[in-house]
Amino acid sequence: MIQEKHQFAMNGMYPSTFSTCSKEGIPNTTVISQVWYVDEEHIALSFQFFSKTRRNISENPLGYLSIINPMTMDMYGLEIEFVRSETEGDLFDDMDMKLQAIASMSGMEDVFELKAADIYKVQNIKDINL
């Protein structure tokens, strides 16, 4: 499912966009700094804040993510479904380290804090023909 070309769009150089919706169908769209490749069927997103996104995912596990390869600007749309949260382990530690680096570069060390690595199963990926 997830190919090498998609992984180039998960390197954190270009922000990704993530949409969720509540059980009443009210959408919410936000920007995230990085998407992590877990395996060919799963990605991880950082859970940093008790946000509307997190509340929506607890009500409705379906989300839509768009990612961009920063060098080619090729864009991909992923339909994803929340699976579980991890609060320890190699993935969590890797995400925490990279998040702190991103926070440091953007002067937001006191704001960014990784609470969990949220694992999503990728249901579908489509090329977005710009």
Binding site: T17, S19, K23, G25, P27, N28, V31, L62, S106
Partner: protein
Amino acid sequence: MIPDRVLEVMLNGYGHFGSTSNNLIPAHIDTLGASSNPENDEATFFVRKSLAEKTLINLDSNGMASIYLGLPSHEAYQIKGHFIGSRDLTAEELETSSKIRNYFVDMISAMGLPRENIEKLYGVAPDIGLTVKIENIYIQTPGPEAGTKLEF
């Protein structure tokens, strides 16, 4: 009235227009500029019709919209509202979009990314406006105020 600060970000920043299907599958597309009528709390977001098929189906089905508005400084707002309709863009709106898109092409290419590729996203003019009646606005700038509802 839409707060001045939100208008500033709406008219000069980047955006993502979110919608959802009746079976609760969300979607979004990039916006390429906006215009507003602050007095009746309506705003029109410029998009490319060729990328908006799913969004238009969702909006026609249930009319619920969310728009993320942001600046490179991380200042951001989330607008919630109801879709009113779609329309062609005016010459003035196309000019507004052109200025914003040129700004983003210059800014991103200055980071060392290939200009001709950035123009795939920002070099193409929008050809449809999605008008929304704004009902709620939330601060989305990362930090302690994120999620705070703005009264207007």
